[in-house]
Point group: C2
Chain length 460, copies 2
Amino acid sequence: MAYFDAASAAPLHPVARQALLASLDEGWADPARLYREGRRARLLLDAAREAAAEAVGCRADELVFTPSGTRAVHSGVAGALAGRRRVGHHLIVSTVEHSSVLHAAEAHEGGGGSLTQVPVDRAGAVDPAAYAAALREDTALACLQSANHEVGTEQPVTEVAEVCRAAGVPLLVDAAQSLAWGKVAGDWSLLAGSAHKWGGPSGVGLLVVRKGVRFAPQGPGDERESGRAPGFENLPAIVAAAASLRAVRAEAAREAARLRELTERIRARVPALVPDVEVVGDPTRRLPGVVTFSCLYVDGETLLHELDRAGFSVSSGSSCTSGTLTPSHVLRAMGVLSEGNVRVSLPPGTPAEDVERFLEVLPGTVAAVREKLGAPTATETVRAAGPDLVVDALGRRCPVPVIELAKVIGDVPVGGTVRVLSDDEAARLDIPAWCEMRGQEYAGEEPAEEGTAYLVRRTR
Amino acid sequence: MAYFDAASAAPLHPVARQALLASLDEGWADPARLYREGRRARLLLDAAREAAAEAVGCRADELVFTPSGTRAVHSGVAGALAGRRRVGHHLIVSTVEHSSVLHAAEAHEGGGGSLTQVPVDRAGAVDPAAYAAALREDTALACLQSANHEVGTEQPVTEVAEVCRAAGVPLLVDAAQSLAWGKVAGDWSLLAGSAHKWGGPSGVGLLVVRKGVRFAPQGPGDERESGRAPGFENLPAIVAAAASLRAVRAEAAREAARLRELTERIRARVPALVPDVEVVGDPTRRLPGVVTFSCLYVDGETLLHELDRAGFSVSSGSSCTSGTLTPSHVLRAMGVLSEGNVRVSLPPGTPAEDVERFLEVLPGTVAAVREKLGAPTATETVRAAGPDLVVDALGRRCPVPVIELAKVIGDVPVGGTVRVLSDDEAARLDIPAWCEMRGQEYAGEEPAEEGTAYLVRRTR
């Protein structure tokens, strides 16, 4: 069994386990109490805060522990916006933020605030100039992830923080994916993290608010965690989180180099081993352990299922793998292929042999899924119309519309068009992405009687 | 060492520890994922929900896990109020609710909602008729604890739920203190609980919303826990919480009887062993393990410190033991003495010998604290004024004003008055309580040049 989904949740680090066990006995009491069990709990809490603050690169009194990374983001965004409500109600986020940031942004918009979403390039990175352009007189807060959770691309946090600082706007950094690897550089104002992403236990996030940043906690509060995170402290888990962050950091430089080499193997060899694959995300400015690729003509859910059967646990941003009908917002924002999407995120310690075995298994698995999908698509309706063809893929889910397109493109002359009728949301992303990969011209979409018509002109 | 503060946080139950350890290995992955680690986590989560729901007495799909009891209360109150915002914005709570409920009520008032606080009797219980009288056309929600956290008094939840049901108003029950002992009876609509109160780990609360109750979760959400508790599930702790609730319940009947006998000993013997003590809370309708008493002429912080030195960890609602200047809102609402307040809350398994040892140690400890306090009060200013006396206790904290009063009451003739000048907030509660205990007449308060003048008439 190889677990390759560390970006969702990393297995518990041995140091976390050890610290958790020790503090189950020492740290269950209320740290606000004056008796010895309470004082002992207080000491543990203070020490954990010191350790976490040192790892993050902030003062201990700037850091509070929250019940999760998601709650850290929600509280951080709400508190920072409220702290600057006299300035205005404008919020800036990138289009590829984690859903916790986007949900906070939605809630802000729902409450009457305004929102600008800064786009990313095809590699998934924002342009600092785009943040500069988005800043307004009434901007209360800007948010940017340190690195993307789906494709691993690192964001230019230092540059964006500079741009924000110059405008007097605080920048909140969602550092969930990168804290294991090091401090977030740059002059940011707020930062959120999540322990189970670095090998700590679940149930612990952290929120840093730099001194001098206006911050007004929202919702009912209490006297705990500087009034920023109400509820009894999850102390054994907090101790384990801080201890494991420190432990992970001690191994970070060596492990980052090792994992980077392993993901580089995947980046380089998957396109050679598997035809019709697009590796996505920035090839160099990226997290060490994450590599993401999409496979044409593959149903993501089936692929994940087959990889699971072969002993590999990976994740996917394909629409076919989730309950929703839309592909990952990250892949959409990048404008890359979403079908047959696979994210490999290696936990620290992943043996090279596991990666080699994955590379052995993958080609056959993809080929088998493609073969399976080939059969039902033989019944497609193709209606000839001069030099142009219409493919009716209505009612068919990804990757069928693209498969149908690929099958008939050779039937029209160069200069001729294929019109793909589809009501699958993934087609909007995957048909242009296919054109890009195949060097064909994507001529746009238009509403059809049913669904949408996607126009592709054969250019070669 | 004897830990007598289970009402703050109970030590981890052995079953909780065992379940936590087992699920650290099995339950760290994302239960939303399709691969085997995810499916295993999902199975654990589903089983924990089933077990918790059975213990609470609800359907599994009515129960979500939250990061703490406090968060369960905050989310429950906010969601229930929002779900009925068309009906109105009136909220009813009792005056002795846990601070999490009162903080939620404050936030509601801060947002423009209206609030009625239902008073309690001297035993700390509400009257269902008072809830009935508080219900209005625009009442969106009523809240009532199942039992009080400071004095152990059980509330008439069944009767209040009936009254609310008749008016079509949902009742939210904060069951944090009683879930270890059994299901909450009555036709309530929402319920909140906290695992570390029943011997589960910290980091887990539960919120139950009965089918048919209008509920609109507030703040940013996600797809987890029915949209009612965003953030990655704290799975090992959730598993431990559910397992320990089941284990605690299996022992509940026997252990309740045993602890009730032990607290009954304290209730009966403390007034005999220690002069000038008031045992507070309902003598029969109460939690098995909680007993609370207040000692005249004692500084709560010093008493707690001395008891800690003697090996007993207890809690206090005296103002002197907290950072604030006001005594516990519960004791204030009950109108009982707050000075020298001690709450003993026995964890399951407390040996009878520990209680006996406490009863041996307490009289000497209280006497020593009283003796220590006796000295500095010799310098009090007593100004004779005919048959009346003025005691100037300005600038002195509790229990000094009451000590000064007690010292001079014998110096005025029956029918004469003592006027106590004090700027200590606790005096407002403790002077009337002293009169009640001593059979003297409390004749009211009036503003003085500095602080407040409290009038006491000697009647015997």
